[in-house]
């Protein structure tokens, strides 16, 4: 498409847009989910009361209403879970034939598919993410992840030529609140496929899908102790990390906590994989298919309320198309529907917690204070619950906090560039290196950019795509180790000489 044609195709910002359309509410029923009033810890194949005797209430962030009471696992609880995992590893799981191990994982995948609506609704209730996303992204991917790694369980020797892979033992796994069940799947599936047993700690604010997963474990008749779930806040995670009988720690979360974990494990010889923060550049060249690119920008930063470590939170636009892109983007932002996560028309759901809402608010304030220009589309936010309107900042300097720090919210910072070199320089100018996006119709430029971007995942003419067969993970301070694909197995095996 020539430039002239594109400009003709572009409607000015003032053109009529369907923001006034009223949508009838289309809420997904909550009836499919049956919650207990209180949950214990899942240890050794059954729910047990926490020895700590501490509990807290987990809520629905869209309504600020309690959903259930869950346990705050203490040191003795973590120890009990690790012991159960160790016993299961030594006495049961390591003697299960790999082909049988595979079948357990296939069962889990199937059960997740069968119960996907229940899980999707619960995920949206406890996490605040739109049901369309839980239903169409989180659940299918979680099931697919188990299905993918199931097939590896009896083929490990083909993944590591000239080596004899063996399980590490007990894996301690700590996951974040942005994709609770999907992150559980990313952690548990490869660990079990490789023959490990696990103690997994879901995020403090989103424990419920992991607790429901215990019922999947029961239905799949997994031997007791192979999967143990301990709920709690960061203190529980710290106990798991420092437990002497854990062979491996896998963590997904902030870079700050990741560094602390790496320091705790220093000198212990324990295995570690880290999937940490990001501040990805989404780079738009002047020959990009602009309407698609704008969809990619929106998907890149407003998907899951921007609670995505690989979110395209820095938009780098070639100067010559800056005005056009910004006006198209603002226009598109005005069509985003913010509100009830259970409503099938919702694009942007609730912010996961009060704490995260405050963090987003303070960084946005910093952006305003530092001199960036803020735009938020007119949208009516519900009175109860935690909400943040989709936000874009222009006139952003690279030194601003909103261009440097991970906001983990629906906040986009826009920078411009004139040459590919400048785009690369700006994109790489961050301690992070998780992901990046490139939009251009020129194939050779895509490959050149892909080669020079220091990031573990590069999406070209697309953004925020995930697949169990596709390795995911960061460069630099975004962590190390990969999840997904053959490479994802490496984090869970020791490689002996053949």
């Amino acid at each position: 498409m020539t430039k002239d044609k594109r400009e003709v195709a572009h409607r000015p910002e003032t053109a009529a847009i369907p923001t006034g359309w009223e949508y009838s509410p289309a809420p997904e029923s909550r009836e499919v989910v049956h919650l207990e009033e209180r949950y214990g810890l899942f240890i050794g194949g059954q729910f047990v009361e926490p020895l700590s005797n501490e509990r807290y209430t987990t809520i629905d962030p869209a309504r600020e209403e309690p959903l259930a009471e869950v346990a705050q696992a203490g040191k003795a609880d973590v120890d009990r879970a690790v012991k159960a995992a160790r016993e299961a590893y030594a006495e049961r799981w390591s003697s299960v034939r790999p082909s049988e191990r595979a079948k357990y994982l296939f069962r889990i995948a199937r059960i997740l598919q069968e119960r996907s609506r229940e899980f999707a609704v619960l995920e949206s209730m406890n996490g605040g993410k739109p049901i369309r996303e839980s239903r169409d992204v989180d659940l299918p991917l979680a099931a697919a992840h188990f299905f993918y790694y199931a097939g590896w369980a009896d083929k490990l020797e083909y993944a590591f030529p000239n080596r004899r892979p063996r399980a590490l033992g007990v894996a301690g796994q700590i996951i974040p609140w942005n994709f609770p069940l999907l992150m559980l799947a990313w952690k548990i599936a490869p660990a079990l496929a490789a023959g490990n047993t696990v103690v997994l700690k879901p995020a403090e604010t989103t424990p419920l899908s992991a607790l429901l997963f215990c019922d999947v474990v029961r239905q799949a008749e997994l031997p007791p102790g192979v999967v143990n779930i301990v709920t709690g806040d960061g203190r529980t995670g710290a106990e798991l990390v420092s437990h002497p009988d854990v062979n491996k720690i896998a963590f997904t979360g902030s870079t700050e906590v990741g560094k602390a974990i790496q320091k705790t494990l220093a000198g212990t010889g324990k295995r570690l994989s880290l999937e940490l923060g990001g501040k990805a550049a989404n780079i738009i060249f002047d020959d990009a298919p602009l309407d698609q690119a704008v969809e990619g920008i929106v998907n890149g930063i407003y998907f899951n309320q921007g609670h995505v470590c690989c979110a395209g939170s820095r938009l780098l636009v070639e100067e010559s198309i800056y005005e056009t892109v910004i006006s198209k983007l603002k226009r598109r932002m005005r069509t985003l529907r913010v509100g009830d996560p259970l409503d099938k028309n919702t694009d942007v759901g609730a912010i996961n917690s009060k704490q995260q809402l405050d963090k987003i608010g303070s960084l946005v304030q910093a952006g305003i204070d530092e001199g960036a220009e803020i735009y938020q589309p007119p949208c009516k936010l519900p009175e109860r619950g935690y909400w943040f309107a989709p936000t874009v900042f222009t006139n952003v300097a690279q030194s601003y906090r909103i261009a440097q720090e991970e906001i983990f919210g629906p906040v986009l910072s826009v920078l411009t560039f004139r040459t590919p070199d400048e785009a690369i320089e700006k994109a790489n100018n961050t301690p992070y290196g998780l992901s990046a996006g490139v939009w251009t119709e020129k194939g050779s430029r895509i490959l050149a950019m892909a080669q020079r971007l220091r990031a573990g995942v590069v999406w070209a003419n697309t953004y925020n795509r995930f697949d169990p067969a596709s390795p995911f993970g960061g460069y630099k301070e975004s962590g190390f180790g990969r999840e997904g694909g053959r490479h994802g197995l490496e984090s869970y095996v020791a490689l002996d000489d053949a």
């Binding site: 990741g258 220093a266 000198g267 010889g269 880290l274 697949d467 390795p471 490479h487 490689l495």
Partner: protein, 264 residues
């Protein structure tokens, strides 16, 4: 009448040159006055290694393989000198053969370590290995074979290295540097600092532009070095001094996955 031999002054190896330590200090090892590198020397070496990274990693894999093979050629011509500073000819030969072995990996890594990924959607998706960046190495014993076993896998993948020589056996590393300097290894790809471990190891472990750290040769407080390394999430490797494996190369590589839609 006997001839008075001309002795060699043992200096550092930074950016392809052989400077003295900026500190002007030396220490006594193997009956020689060996340069006692400083923290500032380490910083300078890291700066230069970082600069050298783009050209070295941008070179074709075939070329990098040839450069490594050329290192083996240079070592072969200096077998006697190298043998004098390690356990003897056998160690030298094994070291040379190891460099040749690694040279051959340069243009096979991406095929063995990378992958094409069959994702469930209309996307072309592949994963390629790329160098991590500046890598700090604490040279292990045995002096030559250990050095080569840890250095070759780092540089064959396109990383650049700052190597802290063995404190008690530093001379062989300078002999090796002379092989590197004459083998078309671009200046700055390998930098070697001699001196005291207690000064140099924390300096390299804590440097924020060093992205990977090989502690196979660490003899002191490994936990402290790992803690320092965590400040910028370094990839920290504790391997074997005598191993030869593509997995040792992979330990210093990042994996990049690229997605592109398929469509008409």
């Amino acid at each position: 009448m006997s001839r008075l031999p001309v002795r060699k002054t043992y200096k550092l190896f930074i950016g392809g040159a052989f400077p003295r330590s900026e500190s002007g200090r030396t220490y006594d090892a193997e009956d020689a006055n060996v340069a006692r590198g400083s923290r500032k020397d380490v910083r300078e070496a890291v700066r230069i290694a970082r600069q050298a990274g783009a050209a070295w990693s941008g070179m074709t894999a075939y070329n990098r393989g040839q450069v490594l093979y050329r290192v083996a050629e240079m070592m072969e011509t200096r077998r006697a000198e190298l043998a004098a500073y390690c356990s003897g000819p056998d160690e030298v030969e094994r070291s040379i053969d190891r460099v040749v072995w690694y040279a051959g990996w340069a243009d096979k890594l991406a095929q063995v370590i990378g992958s094409a990924n069959p994702v469930s959607g209309p996307y072309f998706n592949f994963t390629v290995p790329e160098p991590t960046g500046v890598t700090g190495i604490l040279a292990p014993e045995p002096p030559l074979l250990g050095l080569v076993s840890r250095l070759a896998p780092v540089i064959v993948g396109g990383n650049t290295a700052v190597l802290i020589a063995s404190e008690s056996h530093p001379l062989v590393s300078i002999e090796l540097a002379e092989c590197l300097a004459t083998a078309d290894v671009p200046p700055g790809v390998v930098n070697i600092i001699t001196g005291l471990r207690s000064e140099l190891a924390p300096a390299i472990a804590s440097h924020m532009d060093v992205l990977a750290l090989d502690l196979t040769g660490a003899d002191g407080d490994v936990a402290e070095l790992e803690r320092l390394g965590a400040e910028n999430v370094k990839r920290i490797v504790r391997g074997r001094a005598d191993s030869q494996s593509p997995y040792d190369i992979a330990a210093f590589l990042e994996l990049k996955t690229v997605w592109h839609p398929i469509g008409m």
